[in-house]
Symmetry: C2
């Protein structure tokens, strides 16, 4: 009997799901299931499991051939698969691994933070596939991160490792970050952070409400002076933060993903310059790559979590 693995990347509006065939090394099906903030977690869990049953049936796959289910979720998750909080779904503490094991009668189930899972996906099949130990930073509305050591997610105590967005890069910042602290990387290197820098540094030029991080990076590519200045500030904050991560972890490579990274090599070029300036000799040549898998990284990573050797 062929072995299949189910990957689930749960988000605030939908869960991206897939079935992966280990024998053929390919995704045989991908589908979405609506989640919805505020729904009872049991309703969402049941809906996800039912959609897996339904897909097995429509694909002619025996449910018994499902060998594992990996789940990524936007919130801190302990090593035991307990979700400590998930603001995007309005969940409090949910013993997701335990509940899934009971409901599916499967034992090979893993749950992890979605940024960690995406990092694992990029390490398995994305731009970091040549490395075993990497750090991925995701630049979206916020800044997330994931740490992979020897092909496994480093969860950390209370599931709080890899919170790259909450590295302090400007201790004297007056405005508070969403986390309550001051001067977190997320305040400068996220999509909203880049716009915030723009409005603060060039208030007249960037007064429009509709300005986006993409506009700033497009402006810098076109040679606009103020946009270039903003991108340099962004690059310095992110480059020094990654140098600090390297001093702690010494990964083999960094991967930068998320919507902001769609700006392309302007991101990695700028970051590399400051990374080299602020990192120790042995660490200066650590590769810094753009992510490859986009919003499918989570599906890859969730499958990899449970894939048996």
């Amino acid at each position: 009997m062929e072995n299949y693995y189910c990957g689930i990347d749960i988000g605030g509006t939908s869960a991206k799901m897939c079935l992966y065939s280990a024998g053929r090394d390919e995704f045989v099906s991908e589908w979405d299931v609506p989640t919805c903030k505020g729904s009872d977690e049991m309703i969402i869990i049941d809906r996800i499991i039912k959609s897996l049953y339904d897909t097995c049936e429509s694909e002619g796959i025996q449910y018994e051939s499902i060998s594992g289910i990996g789940i990524g979720i936007p919130g801190p998750v302990t090593d035991d698969g307990v979700v400590l909080k998930c603001a995007n779904l309005g969940w409090d503490i949910v013993e997701l691994k335990k509940i899934m094991c009971e409901k599916t009668v499967l034992r090979n189930i893993e749950v992890a933070n979605d940024a960690n899972v995406a990092a694992l996906g990029e390490q398995w099949r994305g731009s970091a596939r040549d490395y075993n130990s990497i750090v991925m930073v995701t630049l979206g509305t916020g800044v997330g991160g994931g740490i992979i050591i020897n092909g496994k997610i480093h969860t950390g105590h209370k599931g709080a490792a890899g919170e790259i967005g909450h590295i302090t890069v400007e201790p004297d910042e007056e405005k508070a970050c969403g986390c309550g602290c001051h001067g977190c990387l997320e305040q400068y290197a996220s999509a909203t952070g880049v716009v915030r820098i723009a409005k603060k540094e060039f208030p007249e030029k960037y007064s429009s409400e509709e300005i986006s991080a993409k506009d700033i990076f497009d402006g810098a590519k076109a040679g606009d002076d103020s946009a270039v200045t903003i991108v340099r500030m962004f690059s310095k904050y992110l480059g020094t933060a990654l140098a600090n991560v390297a001093a702690v972890m010494s990964p083999e490579a960094f991967v930068i993903g998320g919507g902001v990274a769609n700006a392309g090599v302007i991101i990695t070029e700028g970051v590399k310059e400051y990374y080299r300036e602020y990192s120790m000799f042995a660490l200066k040549d650590t590769p810094i790559e753009l992510a490859l898998l986009g919003n499918r990284a989570g599906m890859y990573g969730s499958v990899k979590m449970v894939l048996e050797p």
Copy 2:
């Protein structure tokens, strides 16, 4: 036959060595062997091995009952036990594990960076003995660090993990660090760093050549205003750096050791204040403890590296 393990903490002037009895859970012998910068590495290695033979003989221990040798050395060491450089001994690349295995005809030999080994010692038998995953920072002439994940040293790529002293805390610092970068933690939180801050901030008061970090901490304890200011600066740099380490790793606890830490709770109190200010909610209560084992931490850690379960 009883099992013994040999721990070796190699320094620039001497190697601290010990024999540990697993059955009795105690050190049965401790001794020093001179090293000397600039000596050929083979001379030092042979001297160390001979002293082990001699100690076995004088203690009435059969050499065959030595089950493993753990070695800490001040320099980056790869996972394979290759010393990449050791400035304190004037060594370049030395395949220390391989050489030791050949010369002693033992297979259970491990080599690691001395700060990492000290961290393992504190995790095994020191102030962090209740935790599995910790970060230790050593405040001496420089600032070193060691990362323990699930009771094992995290070496990182090129053996460069745990270089807490080279986290950038002041990107616009004019003076270069020994590593060539600017604004490393070591420039503020080491013994020399504290004195440097003092001379820079209060040049008239601290003009003497003989001023030491201890004098500053003693002054702060006595309520001297300038000393208090310097200790607050020290605490802010170290506290934010540890908050950044926590955002990356999320250890269960921090341990602060090294000569500067002999100042006592004034160190941990100040650091905790800024650590809490700059760390995320889930990380704020991470314990920050003073090291317990002093310069014997390396011996404990080197034994622990090779101790069989």
